[in-house]
């Protein structure tokens, strides 16, 4: 993954709360406290205006499926995502802006595949 793209995405994400989301209010998510989450992909839907990702996650609260959302398909495509990048059953690590209300879920700001590929 090209470092420039990652820097651009990071800059984009950092700027989003200032800009106001193109498609979403930033109010629900806390972008100042990024959090890594590891899990197994149960469902992935690349779409506009937001992608949806369901991960099976195991942590101190137990094992459960958690739904996340993230950037648009088109922005992820330009960041390097391709239709064969993420498949059901893949073990991945994502970075999220957690929900402000503390509930499961959040806004995906980075995806890291098992082979190290990032977007």
């Amino acid at each position: 993954m090209n470092g420039t793209w990652i820097a651009t995405i990071a800059a984009l994400v950092l700027l989003l709360p200032l800009q106001g989301f193109a498609h979403h209010s930033a109010a629900q998510f806390n972008f100042t406290t990024p959090k890594p989450i590891s899990g197994t992909v149960k469902e992935v839907r690349m779409a506009n205006p937001h992608m949806r990702l369901v991960l099976t996650v195991t942590d101190e609260k137990g094992t459960r499926d958690i739904e996340y959302e993230g950037h648009s398909l088109n922005n992820l495509y330009r960041a390097g995502w391709r239709p064969d990048s993420v498949k059901v059953g893949d073990k991945i690590t994502i970075t999220i802006a957690p929900r402000k209300d503390g509930a499961d879920g959040g806004y995906v700001t980075k995806v890291k595949m098992a082979d190290g590929q990032e977007f």
Binding site: W5, A22, P49, N75
Partner: protein, 281 residues
């Protein structure tokens, strides 16, 4: 109008059987005279067509893919919108009240038009469009602009378009273009009231964009639009903004399907309901 009147007079003259009409005139001419007249008419037609073509060729062609302008050396990649529109616009009291009412509805839920797959609308489509690129397709009589986000489309009619009475109010309005030298001046009317964009406006809004093409210090092709929005119902004075784009050589727009997930969800729900009924029986 003048062109239509001239065309109608010319066709009446060509069809005219009397001595003053073209048909009448040709009957009175000898064969060599007729040949000469025909040659003269062909020459005039060719010269007129050539002049029209030359005039079109002289207009700059903005066709291509354009993305949000970044200064030389800035990273490429998905862009964010330039904050061209004033941060604290001179809204009237009426505008402030309407915007506050709208925000009280959507902000607690984090809703936006884009989240509901609704396009930006003018002037936000031009000023922002979420930082996505646009495609400009230019013909002498019409410019078609496709903003990637929501595949939002504008048609700018040059020397034509619907009369004011025939305009259907819409989020992007109806746009009429004209050339002033190398500048394409676009006037947009027929906008619906929009309180759901940062450049909110009433249905009385008129937008003028002046497009010019040039190059930046790095020699890259840049398209610039100077925009003025006049809307006495929503603004105490006209608001202006400048937007710049950078040419993306050999670029392409991506499709932007947005409503499909909701349709797929609906189908999934119907399948679940059907399966549940089958289990009951």
């Amino acid at each position: 109008m003048e062109e239509r009147r001239t065309a109608s007079l010319v066709s009446a003259w060509v069809a005219g059987e009397g001595k003053d009409g073209l048909l009448g005139l040709t009957r009175r001419l000898t064969p060599p005279g007729r040949a000469l007249l025909a040659a003269a008419l062909v020459a005039i037609a060719l010269a007129t067509a050539a002049a029209a073509k030359a005039a079109d060729a002289a207009k700059p062609d903005f066709s291509g893919i354009w993305t949000v302008y970044r200064p030389p050396g800035a990273a490429a990649g998905p862009g964010r919108a330039e904050t061209a529109f004033p941060r604290d616009p001179p809204f009237t009291a009426q505008a402030k009240a309407k915007i506050a009412e709208y925000r009280s509805l959507v902000e607690p839920l984090g809703l936006t038009p884009g989240g509901a797959c609704v396009g930006y609308g003018m002037p936000s489509a031009m000023l922002s469009s979420g930082g996505y690129p646009m495609e400009w397709i230019q013909r002498p009589e019409q410019v078609t602009v496709i903003y990637e986000a929501h595949s939002e489309i504008r048609r700018i009619y040059i020397g034509g378009g619907p009369s004011e009475r025939d305009v259907i109010p819409s989020r992007d309005g109806t746009s009429y273009g004209r050339w002033e030298g190398n500048t394409l001046v676009v006037e947009t009317i027929g906008l619906k009231e929009a309180v759901d964009q940062s450049s909110a406006h009433s249905d009385q809004a008129k937008i003028v964009e002046r497009y010019t093409m040039g190059k930046d210090d790095a020699g890259r092709k840049v398209l610039t639009a100077e925009m003025t929005m006049t809307d006495p119902a929503f603004y105490t004075k006209p608001v202006t903004a400048t937007k710049r784009w950078l040419a993306v050589e050999n670029g392409r727009l991506l499709p932007y399907d947005c409503t499909e997930p909701a349709w797929e969800d609906q189908l999934d729900k119907l399948r679940e309901e059907k399966a549940a009924k089958a289990r009951e029986q």
